[in-house]
Amino acid sequence: MSAATPPMSTSSVTKPARRRPLPDPKACQRLAEQMLALSMAAGADGAEVLVRDGTEMEVKIRLGEPELIKEAGSRALGLRVLKDHRAAVTYTSDFAPDAMERLARETVALAALAEPDPTGDLPAREEMAREVPDLDLWDEALLSVDVAEAIRRARVAEAAARKLDARITNSEGAVFGSSIGASAFATSAGFSGSNRGTHASLYVQPIADDEGGKKRNGSYWTASRYIGALLDAEAVGVEAARRTVAKLGSRKIATCEVPVVFSPEAARGLLGQFAGVMSGGAVWRKSTYLAQREGTEVASNLVEIVDDPLLRRGPGSRPFDAEGLASRTNVLVAGGTLRAFLCDVFAARKLGRRSTGSAGRGIGGGPHVSTSNLILRAGRTPAAELEKLDRGLYVTDLMGFGFNAVTGDYSQGAAGFWIERGERAFPVSEITISANFDDLWKGVDALGDDLDTRSSVQTPTFRVAKMTVAGK
């Protein structure tokens, strides 16, 4: 860190003179409908338009000083057209009327390169959402959070982390981020709707010095659609520091087979991968080990998994899906039995069933199956009880990409704590854990009561009866 940089005064942060207008869902919807009309006029048999407009702010404080202040807005449009059962997808950020008209023509022409497949046609009119529920995703108070306030919060959080323990000697900083977004979707299948949402987060990552010149980092964060629902900045910093110093003295353990407890942070990735193999898209592509397993046991009877796009204030909530179908809560696993594959319209047609209203899409791509708020329901056991093991592993961090969806073989790098006689005996790193997913999920023998609702993939602490831990 350059000592020559004088401290910055937050009170004198300058504001640009003319600001970009706030993202407006109705303005997005007008653009979407305009593009839809242009596409149909250009000869499309059907079209879908997605428009997104958003602003973001990111402020990073490191060692007490601003390291990054970033603010910007961005607007883009994604178009899918159908012509003679052929599909083309295009995107643009140029909203000049002639550019939009040209895009419509070019996209219709592009579709001629694809080959006809009626499976890819737009959904039927009667499948379209009839109303757009208000899911309480917009916080008026968040709009007034400016750079100065972001700097203040990040500073408080980082300072709290740095002063908790003398062994905290460095910092990757504290980041406050916020976003304000609007989006609209219009389809010739008979739906046009818009939506808006806000989001804010604060993330702190202190660094502690360990023996042998090694450094240890830990982190903690808070996030919500409502600024008032964020955890206190100081509390976030203190928790980040606590988690960091707890890792000091981490060591490798001998290869063994033991029960493994997953923290909600670590478990989130596992749940996301599990939902991936229950996606209708993976099923018809034969790229999931669960392809033939609907109605059968795929997890222990404690396991209940839902995808709930209608969760009020939910990080992943959406009032309608990316094909204009109404959002609905889908139960994926109940009592350990696989109840449903999540489907968009294409996957549903491939599997001879109805869409579950689970289409997502980005600006640059067509619809695909995507989860909204994916939730592994909490149990009733206090989370700490799950560690009452004679010996076992508590996992706080997972690393790498060791999951084969086709076979369910799973292996990832891990770090956490070794448990002995019901206590966390010492921190552990540089090990891997592995199992086949079928055994892993059937082996869930306890679920904590501590559902972590910060992100769109939510799990409590849970325990797997036995996994292979590879170490020394």
Binding site: R18, R216, T468
Partner: protein, 476 residues
């Protein structure tokens, strides 16, 4: 090089740039730069024997950065109107709140080498040519074996043009083509099902497919071979053992184990475990590690980085001794060294960071066959899907998609997918043999850092690691 592609960046001249830079430095600050970016891309997906979708898109935008000391102000816009560009410049300016700014400097274009001259951008070729390539790959994969039940092939292409103008007077313009081709296959036998994938990428036009090993048929057959080979894979062992890493893709080890740790920002901030290690032994004396942005047509090559500094070949570790970091502008200033041409960003929406280009290990003396023969019981790793590292403590993992057991010096049973986990400095000290068979991987590697993705390349000879943890399920 095809210079005839007209893009919206053609209208950006020195006068516009000077006006924006002056607004960016209007509140003070040491330095400012403008990053104009134009990207035109297309993609084709072929599955179930037909083209499922074709996609096309164009993005255009400007990122404005203002530096004061180590601090960055950043803003961007995709509307290149005067009003929006000036707003971005003034927004980025808010990092500085007082004090002077450097006096304006006349803007001069800098001359650049060209590491990816291509006869003609692939985007100028008709889409039907690309569809035909996908069809050929699909056909070859299906014909390879009756057990292949599903094939998916995709092609994506991009023409990216960047224009960097800095307040110290540099103007650099580069045109960066990128072509990616991928085939994946699923094989079924009884209740067993497995997948395989083959792909390649680089800064090429359509001539890519004429290179040895890169025809659609070869990628199709390779995806099929991997899927079929995995049908009879056995559970991988668990525990510490000798591992032989095959030439080429094993560069993922370098990328994770040392590459990230040698990015200068982590060392400037003293958060890397390589902090203060310059001049120190950090690897076995066999190891010379280079980050080389100048390899012809390689995926990670750059004529110029995203801060306007020419791409370079930088030796990071020479015969085991740490000799250099990968620098961006902020870090180079901190270390009092030259920028090394490693300041890269995902897009105009992102601030530059020190990033790798093509990270490679120089070849050694050993015959690869001898390396395998020297192992009593271990793993031979040939193909990888990716990896991850924790910068602070140096722990990294990487995932094997094709690997075999080595028993008594012979490659035997194929192993199911498995992870290797190690500690960067520790593992590089355990490189005990190095092959004479250097190979650059032509894989579709993408590196992520701080939420930003950039294309990178990797390459190695065959390497033997005396001891690393294999994360299988078989404990006996």
């Amino acid at each position: 090089m095809s210079d005839q592609v007209a893009t919206p960046l053609d209208v950006i001249d020195a006068a516009i740039a000077e006006r924006l830079l002056s607004a960016a430095l209007g509140s003070g600050g040491d330095y400012a730069d403008l990053y104009f970016e134009y990207r035109s891309g297309a993609d084709f997906v072929f599955e179930e024997g037909r083209v499922r979708t074709v996609g096309r898109g164009v993005t255009l935008g400007l990122g404005v950065r203002v530096l004061r000391g180590d601090a960055t102000g950043y803003a961007y816009t995709e509307e290149l109107s005067d009003e929006r560009m000036l707003e971005a410049a003034r927004t980025a300016a808010q990092i500085a709140s007082s004090g002077g700014a450097p006096a304006p400097v006349a803007i001069t274009p800098i001359a650049l080498p060209n590491f990816y001259a291509i006869p003609r951008p692939s985007l100028e070729h008709p889409g039907a040519e690309k569809v035909e390539l996908l069809r050929r790959a699909d056909k070859a994969a299906r014909a390879a074996d009756p057990r292949i039940v599903r094939v998916e092939a995709s092609l994506s292409e991009e023409w990216k043009e960047v224009l960097v103008v800095s307040s110290d007077g540099r103007l650099a313009r580069d045109r960066q083509p990128m072509l990616r081709f991928n085939v994946s296959a699923v094989a079924e036998e009884g209740k067993q099902r497995q997948g395989g994938r083959s792909g390649g990428a680089g800064r090429f036009g359509m001539e890519y497919f004429l290179r040895p090993g890169q025809s659609p048929e070869e990628h199709g057959r390779e995806a099929a071979r991997l899927a079929i080979g995995m049908l009879h894979a056995v559970d991988a062992p668990a525990g510490t053992m000798e591992v032989v890493l095959g030439a080429g893709e094993s560069g993922i080890l370098l990328h994770e184990a040392v590459g990230h740790g040698l990015e200068a920002d982590f060392n400037r901030k003293r958060t890397s475990n390589y902090t203060d290690q310059l001049g120190q032994p950090v690897a076995s004396a066999l190891c010379t590690v280079i980050d080389d942005g100048t390899i012809d047509n390689a995926r990670g090559s750059i004529n110029v980085d995203d801060e306007g500094n020419p791409g370079r070949r930088n030796v990071l570790i020479q015969d085991g001794i740490l000799v250099g970091y990968m620098q961006d502008r902020i870090s180079a200033k901190h270390f009092g060294s030259d920028p090394s041409g490693n300041g890269r960003r995902q897009s105009f929406r992102h601030e530059p960071l020190p990033r790798m280009t093509n990270t490679i290990m120089s070849p050694g003396q050993d015959d690869p066959e001898d390396i395998i023969r020297s192992v009593k019981r271990g793993v031979y790793a040939k193909h990888f899907s990716g990896g991850q590292v924790n910068i602070s403590n140096g722990d990294f993992v990487f995932s094997l998609t094709e690997s075999y057991l080595i028993e008594d010096g012979k490659v035997t049973a194929p192993l199911k997918g498995v992870n290797l986990i190690g500690n960067g400095p520790d593992v590089l000290r355990k490189v005990t043999m190095l092959g004479n068979d250097f190979k650059l991987s032509d894989g579709t590697w993408t590196c992520g850092k701080d939420g930003q993705s950039v294309p990178v390349g990797i390459g190695t000879p065959t390497m033997k690691i005396a001891e690393i943890t294999v994360g299988g399920t078989r404990t006996s």
